[in-house]
Each structure stands twice: as C-alpha cells, then as structure tokens.
C-alpha cells in the first residue's frame, strides 16, 4: 500500500478524520500513535521546512496545513513524496468544491460525508480517481441519495 493511512487533525490535535489502509499501524495504541504524529508535525516550522518528514522505518509523513487543519498521509518509505502532496491538495480541493468553501465545522458535522469523499478518491491506499470533475459529479449523485 503506498498510502498507509490518511489522517486529519486540527491545531489542537483533535482528530477529524482517520483511515487506516494497513492493519499493523493501527494497532492497540492508535491514539498514542496519532498523538506522536501530531507532536512531530506541530513542532515543525511550516514556513521554512518541507512538508515531508520521516516517521518510522517504513513510513514517512507528507502533510499540509489548510487553515487550522492538518492533512497527513503516511506513505511507504519507498514512494516519492511530491505526488502525495498533490493528492492531499486534490482532496482538499474536492472537499472545498463539495461543501462549498469548506471549513473545519463542515468536516466535523459531516464526517461521514468526508469519508464518502475519501472513499471515492482513495481505495486500498491507492488513488483511484484523479479527475476533479468526475469526482465532484459522482459525489453529488451520491450525496443526493441521502
């Protein structure tokens, strides 16, 4: 799995979204694991440091902050960083389009919809749709079903 997990938390470290694509990293101490990631990322200098940081022997983190929210991907060490940064950006763009000027509250109150967006974009740790138009159209169909 190239993407091992996708995580979203705010500046205070409150988790807003988490999806594991590998079993071994979502073991018993899930919360401690997330807290560790939060500490690592929030301690970094976002103006001058890169958006990549090695996390463990097998995982590196690729993250980006949008307003008060961090979007983090845990990615296989062997993969290349920039493409996943684009994934994150695309994800946020799609969310923005879907909710219309998305903010943290949208994500909090509609967390199940965010998961829906996530599942349309990423499956099994792979990106499965890169066209924003296709995604947004599909999502609106799915959304109407509710």
């Amino acid at each position: 799995m190239s993407i091992r997990f996708i995580l979203c938390f705010n500046k205070q470290g409150v988790v807003r979204l988490v999806r594991w694509y590998t079993a071994n990293e979502s073991g018993r101490e899930t919360q401690e694991f997330i807290a560790q990631i939060y500490r690592l990322i929030s301690s970094r200098d976002h103006k001058h440091q890169s958006n990549f940081v090695e996390f463990s022997d097998v995982t590196k983190l690729i993250y980006k902050r949008y307003a008060g929210l961090y979007f983090v991907m845990g990615v296989d060490m062997r993969d290349e960083e920039p493409i996943y940064l684009s994934h994150i950006h695309l994800f946020v763009e799609v969310l923005d389009n879907f909710f219309g000027n998305v903010c943290e509250l949208d994500i909090v109150f509609n967390f199940y919809k965010v998961y829906m967006v996530l599942d349309e974009m990423f499956l099994a740790g792979e990106i499965q749709e890169v066209s924003k138009d296709v995604l947004v159209e599909k999502l609106h169909i799915l959304d109407k079903l509710e």
Binding site: H48, P82, F109, Y115
Partner: protein
C-alpha cells in the same frame, strides 16, 4: 432513491425514514453529540462524563430492535471511534446495519465496518455472504450499493478465506459495463491478491487486460495496483513491459505517467535490460514535459531504477542539471527531495557531484534544517583537501551563530530589515554535524588534511561543543578521543601539537563530568607518549588531583599511564632523587586508594602497580653504596631499567582491523605442532630483536606491506594556502569563543543550569597556541632505549608545564613549541598482513557495511505481502485442498455464530448493568477476554461466561 424516481408518492413515514440517519431525527442525533462534545470541552472531566453518558446511550440504542435507532447509534460510535473509543464490541450490530435493505443504513454500516472491523478478523467470516449479496448488480440503483461494498473490501483488512470466497465475484465484475464498478473492482482485487496470490497467478492475463481499458480511471487504477504489486514482487510484471512502454509513449495524463515511471523504477531494478529502451524515452520526456513533478519523477526513475551507470556522465549531468535547478528553488519541498536524489547520484559515482560543491555548500546552510541534514551526507562526495576547511568552518559557524531568516516577499535573504525568524538548530542535527565533521576529516586516512595544527584545534573545539550535547556526549567524546589517539599514533610529526591539544582538553573545566568519555584515549596518549612531556611529575599530580571523578574505564587506563609518565620522567634529566621519592610517595598513596576498588580490573592493576612501586621505594631508601647507580643520579635499577623496559619495547604502529585475529588463527595452525625454540629460532629472534632496536623496519612483517605512505605535499603551497585559511579560521574562532563565553555567562545566570563555578575559558590557551612559535626547546635525547625517537628523530619534546606550581594552579600553561622542521606531513597507514583469509575478511566487512546493495531474489514465485502468511507463496505449489478448507470454514463459522449469539444474549444484561458505570473501556476489555476464551472451546463457553460475570461484579461495588 430520490423522490422523482419513485413511482408512488412517498408516505410521511417513508420521508421520515429516509431522512432519519443523517437528518431529522427524534433521538439524540449525531449533531447533538457533536455539539455536546464541543460544549463540554472546558475540562477533561466534564467531557469524560458527557462521553460516558453518550456511550451508554449509544449502547442502549445499538441494542434496540429498531434498525434506524441502531444505525444512529452506530454512526455516533463511528464518530467517537476517532476519539479513541473502541467500538469493536458492537461489530455484530454493525453487521446488522450493513445488511439493512435501505441504502443509507447500509452505508452507515459499511462506514463503521471500515473503521472497526480491522480489530477483529473473526467478524469477516460472517460478512462473506453479505458481501457476496451486495456485490450483485441487478438493477440501476445497485451501482451505489456495489460501490459501497467494493469500498469496504478495499478498506477492511480482509482475510485469506474471505479473499478466496469473493474472488470469483470480483473477477466477473471486471467486465461490468460501468467504468465506476470496474475501477473499484481493480482496487478491491489488489487487496485480494495480497492475501490470496493464487488468484493473480490464475487470472494474470484477465487482470492485466485492464491496462487496455478504454476508461482512463480504470487504466489509472490498474497501473497503480500493478505498481504496488511490483513493489512486492516485480518479476511477474516484467513481461508486461512492452505494453507499459506503449502506454508511456501514448498517454498524456501526468498522474498516470508518474505512476508508470514509478512502476518502471520497480521493474528496472530487477531487469537491467529495460534500461536500453526506457532511458532514451525518459530523457525525451524530461525535455518535453513542463511539469516539475514529472521531471522529478523522471530523474527519480533513472536514479532509483538503476538506469544510471557509473560511467554515464551524459545522463548524470542531465539529471544533475535538473536537480540543481530544483535545489535553487524557493520551494523547500522541492529542495528537500532533490537534495535526496542528489545524494543518491553521488553514491553511484562521487565524481558526478564533484562539480556541485558550491550547491552543496549552499545546501548545508539552507533555512530548512532537514535539508541541511540531507546535505551533510552529501559532503562526503565533495570534500577534498582544498575545501575541507571551508566546509568544516561553515558547519562550525552554525554552532555559534544565531541564524535568522528574513521574510520579505518570499525572498529568503539573510540579515536586515523586515521580519526575522531565528532558525532553531536541534541537538540531533548538531550531533550529526559533529559526527560528520569527524568523518569528513578522517576520510582515507586523513588524506584531505594538510594542516594538522588546524585539525588539532578543531578537535579541541569539537570537544567543547560536544559538552553541551547531553544526549550524545558520551558517543561524541569517544569519537573525539579516538581521533586524538589516532593522529597521535599515525602522524608522528605533529605529536607535540596533539599532545598540547590533549592537555588542553584535560584542563577544561569539569571535563571529567561533562565529556567523560574523551578522557580514556587522552590519558592513554599521555602515557604512551610521555616522552613529549618535560615535567611529568606535575602532570602526574594533576591527573591524580582530577582522577576522583573519572569513570572506570578511564581509571583503568590512568594507572598504567601514570606508571609510564613516571618511567619517562624519572629517566629524564630533570628528576632529582628527592623529587622522585616525593612523587612515588604521592603515587603510592593514590594507588592504594584504588586497591579496594569495586572494579576488578582497577583493583588488579592497582595492586600490581602498588607492589612494584613499594619495591622501588624500598630500593630508593637503601643507601646507594654499590656504585651501580652513579650514572643515573642515584636512582635504582628498578626505575632506570626495569620500569622503562615494561613500556618501551616497541614503537606502536597502526595495524589494520582484524589483523590480530588473523595472526592468532595462524598461530594456532602453524605453531602448535612445532617444537619451541631450537637454536636457529633463537638466533633469528635475537637478530630480529637487534633489528627492532634499530627500529627501522620489522623483519617479521613483509616488506611490501609496511610501506608507510608519505604524502608529499609541496609544503610551500600548503603554507601559503593554509595561512590564509588560518586567518579566516582565526576570525571564526574568535567569534566562536566570544559566543561561547556569552553562552556560559548565560548559563551561569540561568538557575536551571548545573553550575560550574568558575567560568574559565580557553582564550589564554589559544593565545598560547598562537604565541607558541617563538620559543624553541629541544630536549636532549633520552639515553635509554627509545624506539620512538629513532623513527622520528627530529621530533622535539615540548616543555608542557612551567616549573612554577602556582602557574599550574592557575591553569595558565606556558608551552614551548618547537617549530616544526618537517617539510611534509607523514601519515602512517594501517599495516596489513596480506594473507588470503584476511583480505576476504576485510572485504566482507566492507560489504556488510554497504547498505545500498540490495539483492532482489529472482524467480517466478509471487510473494506479494511480505508481512502476511503468504510471504513465501510458491508459484508451483499444488492446489490447496479446497474441500478441507471449506469444511474448516464451516466449522469456524459455527463457532463464531455461537460466540456472537452468546454475546448478544449477554449484551443487554451488560449494558443495563453498566448504565452510569464510569468505566466503559474496562468493560470492553473484559468482553474481549471472553471471546478469546470462547474461541474453539465449546465446553468452556458457559464456564467463561460465569467468569465474566464474576469479573464484572467487583465493578459495581
């Protein structure tokens, strides 16, 4: 499901039903829960209380027969799961919700399943039929349903048996008329293959056919999946290369191109032939593309796909030019990854990056510390004797200078105007820096160092800065000590300089506490090269004074070092009998304190030394009446002859690692059966001994192997270049010192610092360093056998301490340095005894220390999931006995059914018992325990239930 689609007008109930899970709801809805959490956020206690209440409520709702209530509870629980509340206790309820007929309920169920089922693979057995049902596409509305089911398969960690059960359904769906379903099926199959690789083996063509799918999303998904699979095992996919190559030529979607490049990286690692066809195309791509990401991936593919040969300068230049541009970019991300690739190219052939020293020097001063950290590793590729000093001084400056970044219009220029942000340099980076500096300097047996005076000063400075790096100072102390010892042995021409550095380090404030590990090697060197010290008596006193806080290893060395110092000093020309007697008394007094030391080694050495010193003392006390010792100022033979003979037998020479082991092996083989000395041997040994006395060369060592390398530098060049460097460095050091001083001052005023009362700085010592040139002091040759001096007879001894004791107390040491007469700096190389076994050994050592050589096993075996049980899956293996497997499955299914029945029977009771019980988490743990016990043990089931209720009872009290 939307209203316009239905033929009949919906009833009010239907509308309410439809809106229930996410919208209007009579029960406490998700929104209330979220708002509740936000409003109870003031203290952790109130939040905890609120959540406990909510969880109890959810538990009640989950047990309700009303499917909508249940759904709502499951939705809320999936939300709480993000906060770390385990919801695997309600897996069975989730399953119920998943099997609901209404789509929105089903969706909530599947969402919860992907969040929760990874904790309990057993539940998947019960999910199989449901999945099979949901994967069936019968009418138009089923698209969403099928999609949801496929999502779940892709997200949940599926088991092998589940994979086996659904694989046929999935393959039939690959031919669906909907691209949406085909796309998701491809990804779902990926998960199946990981657990059940047989499926890929048997349907390889059917699956890879999707590379020719008309729909771009399906194609993209297939490329992604194959890329991932090839990461685990590239071999089966090499055959697809022509097809993939055509894709690369025709496709214009950058996302897919990037994925293809990554795929080719994996394939090319195991199939070098691919390179010939791919490389020209990739270079063409680099020329035509506008996208930075594609450009980067192309370079990455060339480098990581082993397409760059170590003599392919053309390609290397092409890649490096591209990376160079990236490294100059304002985007730290681009700089970071490019720097990384730069390094990888440097490893292939360090000549490639040799021209980019300017860039690398720039990168080690980058604003982003992690880029600096990467660049540090690049330095190995670019240092040479010209730029070493510059590199090192750039690094050292980072230790002391407060760096700031100035923000102004995205322009990261230093200094002046606008907003300044200090760059914080973490200790981990500083540690890496010290290590790198030491490594750089010692490359190729100090090949890059022309000026050992500078290197000595550097080591002293490093030992200063290392004292502040608490977490690694032991390691760094070791490293610095090693270096000091190493140049002491290997560079005879600067031994006196090195000795001064060692004494400088020894006299640092509280060095025994702040950098204890450096002392061991320093004190060893003091002893071994004690002939360089004029007044050993003062040195001995000083060492004894300091020794109380030495660690065990240092004390072990100290005992011998003191004896060596004593031996050398007594036989020098300054020692008077009464002074000797005094110093021996001091030593005995000191050593006696060690004879009861808890360390066995110290104790043993101390006792040995003690006994010997007592003998000396006795013989000193005897009246000198036998006339033997006239020549030696009345000193007894024990001191003049016997003691030195302990230590002065041979000149130490550096020997390659592993030599001793090798020699010992040979000893065992060759000498065990031969008799001890015959006459001839004896004569040989005597002859050899005499030659050793002359100490020109050692006949026991093959002549060709002891060739010491003399690096003939044209010394004049050196002087001119180094003097200018020195000036530059000198100013650096001044800054450095000043800063250091300020820092110490700061530390003093800071109550959190452990105080060292006297803020002393080594400014004076540095002054000594620069003033030292004027005075010359040539010590007379020792009249005892001095093998050392015969190797480098021009070496003068240095008068280290002034005879004035008060001055010593002030730690103001007056040093007289002899101007080095030598015109070249000679560095001894490690001596190697060429023997077949040994060279192999050395090669092995090298091999094992080279991490970049990753061997990929060939063969056709598909092992995709290295972590799973299928890691060693063999292509040729016989079919698994399916009948038996199915039978086993049924048994398993029965067991789990029973288990869940028991659980659901238990559930209401537990939840009602636990209303208002604070500790829900505890309870979950208990339920889990029960499950494990229940697994496969029907007889024990009732018993374990009892245990559980017993377990629960104390909670109510």
């Amino acid at each position: 499901m939307s209203i316009s689609n239905s033929n009949n007008l919906p009833t009010a109930e239907a509308v309410r039903q439809r809106l229930r899970p996410f919208g209007i709801f009579f029960e406490k809805s998700l929104k209330d829960l979220i708002k509740g959490i936000r409003s109870h956020n003031e203290t952790p206690e109130s939040l905890h209380e609120f959540l406990t209440k909510e969880l109890a409520q959810c538990r009640k709702e989950a047990n309700s027969p009303d499917i909508n209530l249940k759904t709502n509870a499951v939705l809320k629980l999936s939300y709480l799961e993000m906060y770390g509340f385990d919801m695997s206790w309600c897996n069975f309820h989730i399953l119920e919700v998943m099997s609901s007929e209404t789509l929105q309920n089903k969706r909530v169920g599947y969402l919860a399943a992907s969040q929760s089922f990874h904790r309990d693979p057993d539940i998947l057995v019960l999910m199989t039929n449901l999945l099979k049902k949901d994967l069936k596409y019968t009418n138009k509305d089923d698209m969403v349903k099928v999609g949801i089911a496929l999502n779940a398969i892709s997200t949940i960690t599926i088991t092998q048996s589940l994979a086996r059960d659904i694989v046929d359904d999935l393959f039939s769906m690959l031919n669906s008329s909907h691209a949406y379903i085909r796309k998701k099926t491809v990804t779902a199959l990926f998960k199946v293959f990981l657990q059940y690789p047989e499926a890929l083996r048997d349907n390889f063509d059917k699956f890879t056919m999707k590379l020719q799918d008309d729909d771009i999303s399906v194609l993209s998904a297939t490329v992604s999946v194959i890329c991932e699979l090839s990461k685990q095992n590239p071999w089966p996919f090499v055959a697809l290369s022509p097809l993939l190559y055509d894709l690369l030529l025709t496709i214009d979607n950058n996302w897919i191109i990037i994925r293809l490049l990554k795929l080719f990286t994996n394939l090319s690692q195991v199939e070098p032939k691919l390179k010939y066809k791919l490389l020209p195309k990739i270079i063409e791509l680099m020329d035509s593309t506008m996208a930075t990401s594609v450009l980067y991936e192309a370079v990455n593919c060339i480098v990581k796909g082993s397409m760059l040969l170590d003599d392919d300068y053309e390609t290397a230049t092409k890649c490096l030019e591209c990376l160079d541009k990236f490294c100059q970019s304002q985007d730290p991300n681009l700089r970071f990854i490019s720097c990384n690739l730069f390094y990888k190219i440097g490893i292939i052939n360090s000549q490639f990056v040799a021209d980019y020293d300017d860039l690398i020097l720039k990168l080690i001063s980058d604003v982003d510390i992690s880029i600096r950290s990467e660049a540090l590793e690049l330095l190995k590729g670019i240092v040479n004797d010209d730029n070493l000093k510059l590199v090192v001084s750039t690094l050292l400056r980072q230790f002391v200078n407060e760096e700031v970044v100035v923000l102004n219009n995205n322009n990261n220029r230093r200094n002046n105007s606008k907003r300044e942000i200090p760059i914080l340099i973490p200790n981990s980076y500083k540690i890496k820096m010290v290590k790198t500096v030491i490594e750089l300097c010692s490359i190729d047996n100090y090949n890059n160092i022309s000026d050992f005076e500078w290197f000595n000063a550097l080591l002293v400075d490093l030992s200063l800065v290392s004292q502040d790096l608490l977490e690694a100072r032991d390691l760094l102390g070791d490293l610095i000590g090693e270096q000091l010892k190493s140049i002491m042995i290997k560079v005879p021409d600067v031994r006196n300089l090195t000795m001064m550095s060692i004494i400088k380090i020894l006299s640092m404030d509280a060095v025994e506490l702040r950098l204890p590990t450096v002392l061991k090697e320093c004190i060893w060197s003091l002893g071994e090269y004690s002939s360089l010290i004029e007044n050993g008596d003062i040195m001995i006193k000083l060492l004894i004074e300091k020794s109380t806080k030495f660690n065990i290893e240092t004390k072990i060395i100290l005992i011998t070092a003191i004896l060596k110092l004593l031996s050398t000093w007594c036989n020098g020309d300054n020692a008077q009998v009464d002074a000797v007697e005094e110093i021996i008394n001091i030593i005995i007094e000191f050593i006696e304190t060690l004879t009861y030391n808890s360390s066995f080694e110290i104790q043993e050495r101390a006792i040995e030394a003690n006994e010997f010193l007592k003998l000396i003392k006795e013989s000193l006390d005897e009246p000198a009446d036998n006339g033997e010792n006239n020549n030696f100022g009345g000193l007894p033979m024990l001191l003049t002859d016997i003691l030195p003979s302990f230590y002065n037998g041979y000149e130490l020479r550096p020997i390659a690692q592993g030599t001793q082991t090798q020699l010992q092996q040979n000893l065992a083989q060759e000498y065990l059966e031969t008799p001890f000395l015959n006459d001839e041997d004896w004569n040989n040994i005597m002859k050899q001994y005499n030659i050793d006395q002359d100490a020109v060369s050692d006949t026991s060592i093959d002549e060709s192997d002891i060739d010491e390398t003399y690096r003939d530098k044209s010394f004049h060049d050196d002087i001119s270049s180094s003097s200018s460097d020195e000036n530059e460095l000198g100013s650096d050091y001044d800054v450095f010192d000043k800063d250091k001083k300020e820092r110490k001052q700061e530390q003093l005023s800071n109550p959190f610092y452990l105080t060292d009362n006297t803020v002393k700085h080594n400014n004076e010592e540095r002054d000594v360093f620069s003033n030292a040139d004027g005075n010359e002091h040539v010590n007379e040759q020792m009249n005892m056998v001095k093998v050392k001096n015969s190797i480098s007879p021009e070496i003068p001894t240095v008068e280290m301490f002034s005879h004035d004791a008060a001055a010593t107390k002030d730690k103001k040491k007056k040093m007289h340095k002899h101007k080095t007469k030598a015109k070249k700096v000679k560095v001894l190389t490690d001596e190697v005894f060429v023997q077949p076994g040994l060279s192999e050994f050395r090669q092995n050592v090298r091999k094992s220390s080279n991490p970049s050589s990753i061997k990929v096993k060939g063969g056709n075996a598909i092992h995709l999931q290295t972590k799973s049980k299928l890691g060693n899956f063999d292509f040729s293996k016989d079919e698994i006995n399916d009948q038996k497997a199915i039978h086993d499955d049924e048994l398993e299914l029965d067991k789990i059914r029973q288990k869940f029945q028991a659980q659901t029977l238990n559930q209401p009771q537990i939840s009602s018992d636990n209303n208002g019980n604070d500790d829900n988490d505890e309870e979950v743990v208990i339920i889990k325990k029960k499950r494990k016990k229940g697994k496969g043990k029907h007889k024990k089931k009732k018993h374990s239930k009892k245990e559980d209720t017993e377990f629960l009872e104390p909670q109510h009290e």
